[in-house]
Amino acid sequence: MSRSHAEVPADMTLSVTQPPRRSRARVFDALLNLPGGLITCTLILFALGLLLYMSLRVNDGQIIGSAFSLDNLWSALTDPLTRLVLLRSIVLSAIVTLATVVLAFPVAYFLAFRAGRWRHLLLFLVTLPFWTSYLLRVFAWKIVLAYNGVLNSALMQLGVIDAPLNGLLNTPSTVVITLAHAYAAFAVLPLYICLQGLPKNLFEAAADLGAKPYQGFFRVVLPLSVPGILSAALVVFVPTVGDYVTPALVGGPNSSMIGTLIQAQFGKANDWPAGAALAVISMIAIAIVVVAARWIITRWSTRT
């Protein structure tokens, strides 16, 4: 195909090759969209549809319930418990996201710009802990933070405290630490591939134009790394908001999140429509938060 292009003079390509080129492009586009379209239109739309449908039904023990009703959605929306738990989940996840992304950024920066031939080794070292099962890592944190755990033993050995601290486990802070640890790779990798894709001579160019090193970073590199920051924040924030496993294992009663509530509706309370309604409300709330945050960050980065 490319050979025939080379043979035809440039000024004639438009008129001679446009129709076949356009139809080839259409075939390409169709094939490109096919796998994604297949998965999304069958499975994802079905899941979303079922969720919405369930939330509008009355609970009678059947999967799909009986009769349509807005009661579930209305009570989920107006219940003060929903607001309390959603707010707590969003705030906790926001703290986790902030901590994870901020802590991960220097590491990603180092990997992209300074690591040189150690890059692959370091990338491997950063991702290796995540090949063990997540549940094992949570248990490992329990060992570290337990009453007779590593941290308490170390602090007592150093003489910092006389008796073991009892408040390390089963608090919201535990959840933050555990989640920040569990999602570290999810922040480092997207940040890294974004920074790594930037042209290498940015700093030189900025320096040539008279910027000091820190100015080069804050006014050139940082704004350009915003897509990476946003994608890292997204893949950390959204899953942690809905997580109920970590709070169940290390969180204690003050860390009950929206995922816990939804799971309880489906399991313990045997009320699928109520659970579906709660899930719909929380989905919308989270989506609003994500869109708002993205808008704010993008506006801030284009202003600087």
Partner: protein
């Protein structure tokens, strides 16, 4: 650059081809064996020693699916998972019936039905008016407060320990995160009968009791692994636990005692049910009969320290061992002093209330 790209791409493609192939092969292998019995049970109960005779008669003809929580199991069954047999607990039996998921069994085909303790056979709902059996009891156990005898000096034997606002052990106690445990005890202490339908006022009383408990608890959990370790280390001084945990900790020389509260310990019973659209009914009966063998029950007692529903199984375990496990060999007498976890009519409302209180609302 070109070769490196090909290397990595080759790796990714190779790995995914291998993975795809392996999955498909496994799927093919499974599809070819669809004549197998499917049994849905608690994790830990799938060991072949519990159905030894079935293995001898029909080797490899059973596929076992496990769950960690029978609420999750019900959700999965409602969503369309169709095993032949399942192993929920007695207090959830009504839910399975109401969801239209199970069918009754013919007692004439149950070989060792008579070896089951009569008190368990006569539990309401187990056998219906026609004499058909809805659930074959298989195991039972006790739930109570497990406490450190050296850290809690001579406590009064009552569940109120977990609800006392002036308790010196606030933040050093844990309770089980299940509706048929913690809210049930709260209802008993609030003077509400948990085994009758509750009206709003009664629910409020239970809620008040649960809210009174909340500041005292360091966690609501079903993770017995961590509970045992916390008791061993002293992080917790008391926790709601099952009798098997008591035995395990005593074996590790941790000074603990399993309380006998005056309101009564909680006794749970679990058993096997047959799903309505079971495809391998004959195999299912053989399987149930194999599990109802005395050897199987004795194995349960020795392995996990829980009670078997089979009287004959108890006769196979020496009295010294039972003493060590602090397992009474006569559930009839025991049930006079304990609270049997029967179906709770207001289970769903209690569950929502419990979640609300736990979340701080």
């Amino acid at each position: 650059m070109k070769i490196r790209m090909t290397d990595s791409r080759a790796w990714v493609l190779g790995l995914s081809a291998f993975a795809l192939g392996a999955t498909l092969l496994q799927q093919g292998a499974q599809a070819a064996d669809s004549g197998k019995l499917t049994y849905f049970t608690w994790s830990g109960y799938e060991l072949p020693q519990f159905h030894g005779d079935f293995e001898k008669a029909h080797a490899g003809q059973v596929d076992i699916s496990v769950f960690g929580d029978d609420d999750d199991a019900l959700s999965k069954a409602r969503a369309g998972f169709h095993p032949d047999l399942a192993h929920p607990c007695y207090d959830k039996l009504d839910r399975w019936k109401q969801a239209g998921l199970i069918q009754p069994l013919d007692p004439k085909r149950l070989k060792n039905w008579d070896q089951i303790f009569p008190v368990l056979q006569k539990l309401p709902g187990i056998v219906d008016a026609d004499g058909k059996v809805w659930m074959v009891p298989w195991d039972w156990g006790n739930t109570s407060i497990l406490y450190r005898t050296d850290l809690v000096k001579n406590p009064e034997a009552t569940w109120k320990m977990f609800f006392d606002p002036a308790s010196p052990y606030a933040g050093k106690m844990a309770t089980i995160d299940a509706v048929h445990d913690t809210p049930l005890v709260a209802a008993l202490l609030a003077g509400v009968d948990p085994f009758k339908k509750m009206d709003d006022k009664q629910l409020e009383k239970v809620g008040a009791m649960l809210r009174q408990q909340r500041p005292l608890m360091s966690s609501y959990t079903t993770d017995m692994t961590s509970v045992e370790q916390s008791l061993a280390s002293g992080e917790l001084v008391a926790a709601m636990a099952w009798n098997a945990s008591a035995t395990a900790l005593k074996k590790q020389n941790v000074p603990v005692a399993f309380m006998k509260p005056k309101e009564g310990m909680l006794t749970w019973v679990c058993g096997m049910v047959m799903l309505k659209d079971a495809k391998h009914v004959d195999l299912a009966y053989d399987f149930i009969n194999a599990r109802m063998n005395p050897e199987s029950g004795a194995s349960l007692i020795n392995e996990y320290g829980y009670g078997s529903a089979s009287e004959a199984a108890f006769k196979q375990v020496p009295a010294a061992k039972l003493e060590e496990l602090s397992l009474p060999n006569d559930p009839e007498t025991m049930l006079r002093d304990t609270v049997l976890t029967k179906p709770i009519p207001s289970n769903d409302e209690l569950a929502k209330l419990f979640e609300r209180v736990k979340a701080g609302g």
